[in-house]
């Protein structure tokens, strides 16, 4: 098994993973989106709301604000109270959230909750709880997706350098290098097979073949801010491991 990171930042990372199966890649993708424990608002207790939006609308908006989550959080982590008390005229944003736990705060200060007019006031407490993306989007820590890595093989012996494939490729991945054709940045290929078609039209049969490699994946993770993108991958693997362990224990007991 081999892993190579193409890009890696706080908010997103892309890796080429060699030697895993599609079912496993899919399990990883689904666990990242649905089973990673993160903090988000569960209930809010409203003491005063004289602004233009209804209590329920404000509760829903506050719930969707992503909160940072310490790495060792789990279902059993205690709930966090975040208090908000703003008097108008002003825009209530996530910068007005005062959290009792400095590790559980909004990922950005700029989330607008409601705009208050003169004399209007919003006072409430938010109860932040650890939950899972499978229950509601507000606990979804990010997005994950994958695709097969392509194998683009050009029959350089029979190729007459007509260049029709170079013109056909919408992402310009095929280039002429001296008197051979080379593929640059194969990972960007989207399997449209326009090159195969163009080649088959200019020649008797296609001298290019584009096939997905069955056990090499380009895995893309995008984090919504609860934790760095790379941590989503490792946390997801831990979740899978714990599930397998729990099953194993029950098997030996049965």
């Amino acid at each position: 098994m081999k892993v190579r990171f193409l890009s890696d930042s706080e908010t997103s990372c892309t890796a080429v993973i060699e030697g895993i199966s599609a079912p496993f890649a899919n399990a990883l993708r689904r666990v990242i989106m649905t089973e990673i424990p993160v903090y988000a608002g569960k209930d809010i207790i409203i003491y005063e709301n004289s602004g233009p939006l209804f209590d329920e609308v404000i509760a829903h908006r506050i719930g969707l604000v992503p909160l940072t989550t310490p790495k060792d959080s789990s279902e059993d982590s205690k709930s966090v109270i975040i208090s908000v008390d703003v008097a108008g005229p002003s825009m209530v944003t996530s910068a007005d959230f005062v959290s009792e736990d400095p590790d559980v705060v909004p990922t950005s200060d700029g989330f607008p909750i409601v705009k208050l007019g003169k004399g209007q006031r919003l006072k409430c407490n938010i109860e932040g709880v650890v939950g899972y993306g499978k229950d509601h989007t507000r606990w979804q820590p990010g997005l994950a997706s994958y695709k097969n890595y392509p194998s683009i093989v050009i029959d350089t012996v029979q190729c007459n350098l007509c260049g029709s494939c170079i013109k056909a490729c919408p992402r310009a991945l095929i280039q002429k290098d001296g008197d051979v054709l080379t593929v640059v940045d194969a990972g960007s290929c989207m399997f449209c097979r326009a090159c195969e078609e163009a080649c088959a039209q200019s020649n008797e049969k296609s001298l290019i073949s584009v096939t997905p490699l069955k056990d090499v994946f380009i895995f893309m993770v995008e984090s919504y801010g609860a934790m760095p993108a790379k941590d989503l991958l490792s946390t997801a693997l831990m979740v899978i491991e714990n599930k397998a362990r729990a099953l194993d224990q029950n098997l030996s007991g049965a």
């Binding site: 004289s50 233009p52 209804f54 908006r61 969707l64 200060d109 700029g110 989330f111 607008p112 997005l143």
Partner: protein, 64 residues
């Protein structure tokens, strides 16, 4: 009404980007360039801003 906190379709948090989007497009910058730079690459997130009508100021005087 007021900018949604997250994209309806994919769930990406977008609400905190709206102010910058408004300020920059008001200065005459192209929406496409601003959306690209804000990191809204999918068309589900892009339509959130492109089609949003901010009406919160209209209802501000009507408190609950």
């Amino acid at each position: 009404m007021i900018v949604p906190i997250r994209c309806f379709t994919c769930g990406k948090p977008i609400g905190h980007l709206y102010r910058e989007y408004c300020e920059r497009t008001a200065e005459g910058e192209n929406s496409k360039d601003v959306l690209d730079e804000l990191g809204l690459s999918r068309y589900c997130c892009r339509r959130m801003f492109l089609t949003h009508v901010d009406l919160i100021d209209e209802i501000l005087e009507f408190s609950v």
